[in-house]
């Protein structure tokens, strides 16, 4: 029986198969890794989609029938939604925020009642005044025309998709590996495995290998969805994007191995994983730009692996950056990869 072995009987193949089987036989894992990010993208994309400019509600307190021309003019104005009201009703509506501006037509002219600290109220007042003056016969001395520009890549959904992709790479790398390893340690399975001639390197490699397979599905699903449904662009080279994803997945897999190197209980490793990931969810610019944080902490934020991953993804996808422009980020990611893996191998508790 010492002859040539079938490739399927090789330990690395068997170990990797175990990773697949454990994964696809756990429906919840499939949901969290593959479906949830797509749902999150859909939700955020819909919530922050670009809409036609909102119409600001305005109350018109008219004195006489002669004001119908003014009411019609206000109704035609794009940014306004006009409601005829009595004076007292208008005052109430202004106080509760139901209308932004109250336009009162008096015999001598027009009075605007509004809160000048509200930008929408200021804008509505300008628009209303424009209508009032034109209705009264004012003409523009300089003719003006408009060309509206709506660019894919500048919307919130374009900003958030690379963020979600980075967050997902981190989450599935750290969760997927951390729980599986600590669970095997808790069940004494790790100890049983090292009592066989199994190579420890191949055991750890099987986690990384299986991660890379899932990575392809994960990235294709999320980016495919974002491109098809929201038209999120990919301006840089697909090869560079694939490279960034691959390197990031390896770095987070190593970080997962490091976090799972010591703990004996699932509770213990959950705590550690949350402690490590929570700051990155907040500071690394998943949902809003990390530039909003003070300059003093920027060097720390830039050194976080997730910041580097998301910055590199955004540069490649949205700005069409080439390899040279994302080199600093790739350097940070590689440093995390090498340091985490080296430490994980040193610290790993096999029994």
């Amino acid at each position: 029986m010492t002859g040539e072995r079938r490739w399927l009987d090789r330990p690395l193949v068997q170990l990797t198969l175990v990773r697949y089987r454990e994964f696809y036989r756990e429906p919840e894992a499939i949901f969290w890794v593959f479906i949830f990010p797509v749902l999150l993208t859909a939700g955020l994309g819909l919530a922050f989609r670009s809409r036609a400019p909102e119409r600001t509600p305005v109350a018109l307190v008219a004195q006489s029938a002669a004001d119908t021309a003014l009411a019609a003019g206000l109704a035609r104005e794009d940014g306004l939604k006009v409601r005829p009201m009595t004076d007292s009703a208008a005052t109430r509506a202004l106080r509760t925020g139901d209308v932004a501006v109250v336009v009162v037509r008096t015999s001598s002219g027009v009075v605007y009642r509004y809160d000048p600290e509200r930008p929408d109220a200021r804008e509505a007042r300008l628009r209303a005044d424009e209508v009032v003056q034109r209705t009264a016969g004012r003409a523009d001395p300089v003719p003006a025309s408009e060309h509206p520009v709506r660019e894919a890549g500048a919307r919130y959904v374009d900003f958030v998709v690379p963020g979600l992709l980075g967050m997902n790479l981190m989450g599935s790398g750290i969760w997927g590996i951390g729980f599986a390893i600590v669970d095997a340690r808790r069940k004494h399975l790790l100890k049983r495995l090292v009592a066989t001639p199994m190579s420890r390197t191949q055991f750890l490699a099987s986690f990384v290998l299986s991660r890379l397979t899932f990575l392809v599905i994960e990235v294709a699903l999320l980016l495919g969805f974002a491109a098809l449904v929201f038209g999120v662009p990919l301006r840089g080279s697909p090869a560079l994007l694939a490279g960034v994803c691959l390197l990031s997945a390896l770095a987070f897999a190593s970080l997962g191995l490091l976090l799972a190197a010591r703990p004996r209980t699932v509770e213990g490793v959950s705590g550690i994983m949350n402690l490590v990931m929570l700051p990155m969810w907040i500071f690394s610019g998943v949902f809003f730009s990390s530039a909003r944080f003070p300059d003093a902490v920027q060097p720390v934020i830039k050194a976080l692996p997730l910041t580097a991953v998301i910055d590199a993804l955004r540069a490649t996808m949205l700005r069409g950056a080439g390899l040279a422009q994302v080199l600093p980020e790739l350097g940070v990611i590689t440093a995390w990869l090498v340091l985490s893996f080296a430490l994980a191998v040193r610290l790993f508790r096999w029994r």
Binding site: D9, V18, H188, T196
Partner: protein
Amino acid sequence: MPGASCPLLIRQLRKSYGDVVAVDGIDLEIRPGECFGLLGPNGAGKTTTIEICEGLTPPDAGEVVLLGRRWGRDDRVLRELLGISLQETQFSEKLTVTETIQLFRSFYRRGPAPATVIDLVQLGEKAGARVGQLSGGQRQRLALACALVGDPELLFLDEPTTGLDPQSRRQLWELIEGFRAGGRSILLTTHYMEEAERLCDRVAIMDHGRVIAQGTPRELIASLGAEHVLEFAVADGAALDRAALATVAGIGPLGRQDGTWRVQVAELHQAMPALLGELRRQGAQLSELRTHSATLEDVFVSLTGRQLRDG
């Protein structure tokens, strides 16, 4: 190679965890084809000893020679030659029996086909079932199968039947007897004396990290010098005149634990009437009376004054 004919040789083995001495200088030697049992209560040092032999725990001092080889020098070879069943290993519940065996089989250069091992441990009907659906006894047989996939020369079984119902236990015993008949050397630990008596050619009784007796089960029981054990209790735990009882002809030293008196006797038909006569003379009212043939349990009790299962 010196000691190559001896599957396992242990000399002056020591291991402490902090202040706790787990193994306190033990010597053992297993002969080829022998099933050797480490018998003792929980915490006696059995598992530490077997895990040192398995190369999972480094000893503080002492020598372990397995099949003429040593840990630290011949690890790769040894891993191929040993079959191991640990206490409380939980295999992945989402894999099937066949998948689990295939995984373990892939680690070894040689060995039987997975299906052969599955039949050997009588899990053929469960080959396609998930591990999560197996009963306790079936899981133990799976653990045994994983120990056998490399066709080992030396088998380590740490408490192979702990926590099983009597029927599953007997089924496992039959399997282990089968391996022994196949000529493999086996080291097993247990705190069940029936298990040691039935499976083991020789037994070492351990307590507090030491070997307190060693020999075949028959030799150890014979060393008691009495074939029977007599246990009795008196109503309301009334006090007895111990000195007078001790003078009864044909009985060994008296022991008392939890209100039950215990005494070894060589000739039951002579000692029993004499003892009952003395109890009647003292006016004691018997609430319990039992006799049984002496077992390894009685050997342990006579050596330590404690019951095996009390720890």
